[in-house]
Symmetry: C2
Subunit: 311 residues, 2 copies
Amino acid sequence: MQKMELESFSPVSTVAVCGGTHGNELTGVYVVREMQKQKVEKVGLTSVDVVLTNPRAVALGRRYAEMDLNRCFSDAHLSSPLTESSVYEVRRAQELNAQLGPKGSEAAVDLLIDLHNTTANMGVCLLFYSIDWLTLHIYRYIKNKMSPLPVRAIDVGVPISDAYSLEAVGKHGFAIEVGPQPNGVLRADIFNMMKKTVDLTMDWIQEFNSGCTFEAGEVEVFTVVKSVDYPRDQTGEITATIHPELQDNDFKLLRRGDPVFLSFTGETVEHEGDELHPFFVNECAYYEKKIAFHLGQKTTFQLPPVCMKKN
Amino acid sequence: MQKMELESFSPVSTVAVCGGTHGNELTGVYVVREMQKQKVEKVGLTSVDVVLTNPRAVALGRRYAEMDLNRCFSDAHLSSPLTESSVYEVRRAQELNAQLGPKGSEAAVDLLIDLHNTTANMGVCLLFYSIDWLTLHIYRYIKNKMSPLPVRAIDVGVPISDAYSLEAVGKHGFAIEVGPQPNGVLRADIFNMMKKTVDLTMDWIQEFNSGCTFEAGEVEVFTVVKSVDYPRDQTGEITATIHPELQDNDFKLLRRGDPVFLSFTGETVEHEGDELHPFFVNECAYYEKKIAFHLGQKTTFQLPPVCMKKN
């Protein structure tokens, strides 16, 4: 393995911790409320913004009021003129972009983390838009500290210019997904995993800002390759569920011939095509998006050592 | 044990199988749709009505459109005059009562079963309004056939005159609750358990109608004694989740001092008062009803032998 050059980054002086982007994913809502109650505004020398991002959806107990807020941070939505009839979430996206961004500008928060839940059995996952050495080092730190609990990284594979989700507003950013948890339900185990992941992120930042160098190393990342829809009849109705052998087995390599769906009349549908890793298996919110699961490829990245840039 | 007299009941000539009473409890929705596709209208000599009860809530993917349909079958709601501004679910309750009832009349279906899901780890449960030898025999039959899978009976403890839920419209009736399953999600394991429970109910009816006598025996029933709310702050916000030792442990006897809640700041709240059995632990829909779990008492009933009444 070739020796990699030290990469340096500006200190992480501002962090935003966001929850409630999807109003029925309750862990983030309550982590944020708890941090607000504790009046967390600074950790070490880093100032921290704690934001409940979609209060209307939280009050409704739904993913969103009018449209998915986490699809509203594209350049098109952020620059669309607001009118009386503008969708609530587009308005809210522009407010959040003004508060925490603007996206792509020097004024944006250094790091934005957005807290999500999934009904899939995915444990703790960090979701990235683009590969970024700083956030992958945070990932590696969290993974090592939380071991043997599995922590995984997912590269959503959307170029930052097309990025439509909240974490793209920060200079660096990622979403933390923890599951399985039903929408509208709060589980202690999931709450504790989420809280621990946020705390470890803050710990890493403190170490980084104090001048530590984080050594070179390897990390594995799952990159989304494609999505698979449920089998459907002519009217568009689904005709099968996720097969019991796939259900709850996110990240386990799918080989050709492995069962993926079980129809309501008892027939098994097998996996065809490339051997890939499934995740977001049976995620509630993806029914309306016509996604039964994503398939991804596992890639190993060589991380360069990183440290803080000295002025 | 004293010998019990044979009880006889009229044949079960009409059955209604209902699903989608809560639009986001998907197992019943898809069991009903599948039975409608298969054009199930008769099993043996028993005519079967298969009804999607709250299509508007199903289309919305929510528990209900305007109010909980399964609280609309009280005598007050069923007799309230309909106007332009009547709530959708009250209107629907009256339509269903006309189609499957009227409640308390000779015209009502002989047996009404209503299919539900819970986010609690309750396996298969049959919910009853009042003790009824015929339906308890069906319960015992299902329990024996599905063993070692646990099947339990819950007596909701509401007198039939106050009964507000759909199954009260039939001459006999019960709800089938299967979980854990997130709202808005369909799991193959839960689907198969629900389908099997419905099929066994039909099998029992065929045996009963053909003249079989079902022998005397014992069954255990959990009777709701009280409900427990989450700890809350002055503003009414919850301050704790179900404790990990209680989560997923529905029906395990709670003793004094057992942990029941874990606060967001890490404190454990212990069970006080009588030793009872918890169920519907962390049921999603009960957050708005301010119920963290129900507590019930386990009672053993001596079932008399039953057979069909001969004319």
